[in-house]
Amino acid sequence: MYKYNDFDEAFVRQRNAQFRKQVERRIDGSLTEDEFKPLRLMNGLYLQLHAYMLRVAIPYGTLSADQMRQLAMIADRWDKGYGHFTTRQNIQYNWPKLTDVPDMLDALGDVQMHAIQTSGNTIRNVTADHFAGAAADEIEDPRPTAELIRQWSTDHPEFQALPRKFKIGVTGSPNDRAVTKSHDIGLRIVRGSGGQTGYEVLVGGGLGRTPMVGQVIKPFVKKEDLLPYLEAIVSVYNLMGRRDNKYKARIKITVFENGMEKFRDAVDERFKVTKQEFGGVSADVLREIETFFAAPAFRNAPEDAYLAARNSDPVFRSWTDTNLTEHRAPGYAIVTVSLKAHGATPGDATSAQMRLLADLAETYGHGELRISHEQNVILPHVHKSDLPALHAALKIEGLATANIGLVSDIIACPGMDYCALATARSIPVAQELATHFNSIGLEEEIGALKIKISGCINACGHHHVGHIGILGLDRAGVESYQITLGGDHTENMVIGERAGPGFAYDEIVPAIERLLRAYLEVREDATETFLEAYRRLGAEPFKAALYPAEAARDAA
């Protein structure tokens, strides 16, 4: 893992000291809220519906055991004993007091973490594939690249007041788990014709009010050219992007309105200058960062205990069927720990759960943890012979739910239970869907399915790219839920199609049940997933299930 150098350490400490003074000046009245707000947002502090919220960056989703323990300590000492992991690999504390936040930031600084640029019109926390450095299908670990971008973008003087926020995601695998096509810039590590690795650069993706799939601006950028090329993109956007209307200010609109060709030409022109300016710095720093991400010393051990447990324990077997992913090292597995126990709040972890995960990462997982954009925790390097003990230990804190990739593994934003921007609740919808499908026993039969719920048009819950997306809206003072179908968050990204009129709060779970029962009826066999059936048959049979009255009228 990356370790702060003296410069990083001094920078974070200095920012925290500045913010402590700013808080003091806000409280003694020498700063107004209008003056203070941009300062607190620069440091990740929001004011939500019921309280402040501190959003802490987890760069590229990677945590050490010590960092996870510190997150637990902070939750206990200054919050309500839990944290909420988000779809951008951050953790949010929902109940800090303004007066405690400087201490919380210092405690984060003690473990080389911060909340800088988790808000505002800046380059936000850089996200990456949560299986980075472990996945069998990976070309190269994307985290050194993400760390390079973090260093370049943090406090970048030219990019502190962009037209709008700016999100970058990186994948090192052709199977895109980092949703790169929904980012302002998506980077995919690819192999060039000579076998060397570089980046396919995508630009202009985004969800929200105007969902767009990112488009390739450059099929191959050499590693040494990455930072000057990114600098060129962001500086062109900084000048060309609209500032007259915040809903038209993201780079996706800039690219859309100007056309990719014009935008690309402007970037190429700017790149001639930035390439000169950067010289070889980008490559030099990247090489140094790469040394921090060396793979752990994997061990060779027999897998007999694992195979025996699978044969003797059906609960363990079922968990290994859903929660494991193929590792690149022989005998190892990637373990996804579900934060979606049926009825739990997606992405929430108690301090006890965090501490247990930290301990288990140390005992069985080379001390590493990851947070996924799907709001689960990953132990990336576990030898299969340790899985029975790990599984047993996870049960202690209710962390052994075997539902990864199933109907109850739902992404949900905080929605109107916390968020000041929300137009409806998302969490209770997720809770009720998970509980309901568990109680009627259909979860396993339905199989692979991505339900994603957002509580407003800004789409933090990625509803556009859910196989089933649910968007909570305020329709004339009543919560209303719109369903989209057929979305796909992978390298083949598809924006889901709106199924029809929205459903009331108490109608949404029955509507999803009708939809999924229809899927079970029409699928060719159990191997055809919901998404595959939708693609084969189109929306009609599913719309008919959602809107039976309309379907009956049409048939009459």
Partner: protein
């Protein structure tokens, strides 16, 4: 004819805790919606909002929210304001907690 004025309460968040607060008729900030001053006159509402906004060291983000008279005091109209009177639905936190100030 001018549209009837929907009664309002002045609401904000407390500066230190962020907790939802309401301006009372006797110029206190209460954590309880039922204690809020129900303002039935538009001009008076603007004056009360100005009064609230001047208290920058106590509260943040004052605004007028629609309300209606109820059995024990003003009640919210919109569901967002109803959620603000109690806290989140997934945990008994915020105003639902015992001993909440």
């Amino acid at each position: 004819m001018a549209r009837a004025f929907t009664p309002k309460v002045v609401t904000a968040n407390a500066l230190i805790e962020g907790d939802v607060v309401y301006l009372t008729a006797d110029d206190r900030w209460s954590r309880d919606h039922a204690e809020a001053e129900l303002i039935e006159d538009e001009a008076h509402a603007q004056l009360r909002l100005l009064k609230a906004e001047s208290q920058k060291n106590i509260i943040v983000g004052a605004y007028l929210a629609d309300a209606k008279p109820g059995a024990t005091g003003p009640e919210p109209i919109h569901f967002r304001e109803a959620f603000r009177t109690r806290g989140p639905s997934n945990y008994a936190h915020g105003k639902q907690e015992a001993g909440h100030v």
